[in-house]
Amino acid sequence: MRVHVDQRKCVGSGQCARTVPAVFDQRDEDGIVVLRAPQPDAALEPAVRQAARHCPSQAIRIEEP
């Protein structure tokens, strides 16, 4: 799995950072998404998919092999 985030679309809801903090973080200055792990561990993949589904501005894209 490969994860992409679009910081221009992000509205800083923080739901990804709450769901999978190992993969997503928020920038200190404005709460916008920061990708910590573009290729997350397999064990985290279901949670990453959930984070992408719940992202209100659809700023998370997942590339599945």
């Binding site: 509205v11 923080g14 739901q15 950072a17 928020q26 404005d30 709460g31 916008i32 719940h54 209100p56």
Partner: protein, 402 residues
């Protein structure tokens, strides 16, 4: 056999059961994703009833506007027209203006900031329960703790003096009831913005460790945010932070007190509390008549054409009972994964304070049950007054004993 769906009935509808949305939502949802209704002013509007289509509309900013000042923006009351036309916070803006302003405030509600606040939230929860315990049974939970707890948390976060909370709530409630005159609603909206404007002056003269002082430093002083614009946004934050959480505490507690198995789940480990809170958020859905949009062009949804200029109500309570997403949706079930609920909305306007709300609810429900052993309703259910007269649903009273 169900009777046929009424043709463009007057919206909003009455609830038949205080714990469920009006039954017409489910019937309309079965028939299609859109349902035409008539508003107070005789205009036609559309209810969007299904989870998938609600998400689609709320993420289609090109064809649907959330600009509350739009002359065709739909409302449930005449008073709300006046309030909407005068809404100057980003909740009523489309992009790019929305993101411009929202981004100044997102870090104040970031997960990290809320995690740091969690010990204080827990301490405030204990303190309001101490007070209730000292008062002794019976007590009206809706008028006391359910109001006081979010007020104290907001006071600490924002920097507004706690003794002002009755005024803040009075403004919030006066602005989004269903029975106010336009003049009353407008006055309440203006009064709260005026209050926040004075709060900005006070914090500018005397800064503290709070949202107002931080935004003054980061955005007002550098000149990126005017004091008047900040006052409008501040009024929105105060409103949103009080009333919604208060109503979740009241309704959530009532639901849990009715079922011993639910109560035990809330006394369990943090993961089971987290799941229970998500399910309560799904089941209650206090925000009844928002979000709303107006079509910027003709749009076809599920075989129906919404005309340019027509309004849409995205019924979150209906999305949260959508059989396509939730099995047996009218059952309150703490064992389910309810995380697909849309209680905080969806799209760019999704609730800024949702992490705060979650942490407040995760703290208060278990603490209530742990500290007030044997907590129970002190009156028959018939004596509970439900907020059928409000845009944010909940209970007006909740007499409890323990």
């Amino acid at each position: 056999m169900q009777p046929p769906l009424p043709e463009t009935p007057r919206f909003p509808f009455r609830r038949e059961c205080p714990f469920d949305p009006p039954s017409l939502y489910a019937r309309a949802r079965a028939a299609g994703p859109l349902f035409a209704v008539t508003l107070w002013n005789g205009r036609r509007a559309w209810l969007v009833t299904r989870h998938e289509e609600i998400r689609a509309v709320l993420t289609d900013d090109r064809r649907f506007s959330g600009a509350m000042a739009h002359p065709d923006f739909p409302t449930v009351t005449e008073a709300r027209v006046t309030v909407d036309r005068n809404e100057r916070a980003f909740v009523g803006m489309d992009n790019p203006a929305h993101d411009h302003y929202r981004r100044m405030f997102t870090r104040e509600f970031s997960v990290r900031r809320m995690l740091a606040l969690e010990p204080r939230i827990a301490a405030i929860a204990e303190s309001v329960i101490d007070e209730l315990a000292a008062h002794g049974p019976p007590a009206d939970l809706a008028g006391t703790l359910a109001v006081k707890f979010p007020s104290l948390v907001m006071s600490e976060l924002v920097g507004s003096p706690y003794e002002d909370h009755r005024f803040i709530i009075d403004c919030a409630v006066g602005r989004h009831g269903l029975t106010q005159t336009p003049a009353e609603a407008h006055d309440k909206a203006r009064a709260l913005a005026g209050y926040f404007r004075r709060l900005i002056d006070a914090r500018e003269a005397n800064p503290g460790d709070d949202l107002v002082s931080r935004i003054i430093e980061s955005h007002v002083k550098p000149g990126t945010l005017s004091r008047d614009d900040f006052a409008e946004i501040g009024a929105m934050i105060l409103r949103a932070g009080h009333d919604t959480t208060t109503n979740m505490i009241g309704m959530g507690t009532l639901l849990v007190l009715r079922d011993e198995r639910l109560r035990r789940r809330l006394e369990g480990n943090p993961a089971s509390v987290d799941a229970a809170v998500e399910e309560l958020l799904r089941f209650v859905t206090p925000v009844q008549f928002s979000p709303r949009r107006v079509a910027l062009e003709d749009v076809e949804i599920g075989g129906v054409t919404v005309r340019k200029g027509e309004g849409l109500f995205l019924l979150l309570a209906s999305a949260n009972r959508d059989e396509r997403v939730f099995d047996d949706p009218d059952r309150l079930d703490f064992g389910r994964d309810a995380s697909d609920h849309l209680t905080f909305g969806y799209g760019i306007h999704q609730c800024l304070g949702q992490t705060l709300a979650r942490y407040e609810l995760q703290a208060i429900y278990p603490a209530l049950l742990r500290r007030l052993q044997g907590l129970r309703l002190a009156v028959p259910l018939e004596e509970i007054r439900f907020k059928d007269d409000m845009q944010i649903y909940g209970v007006h009273n909740l007499p409890v004993a323990w």
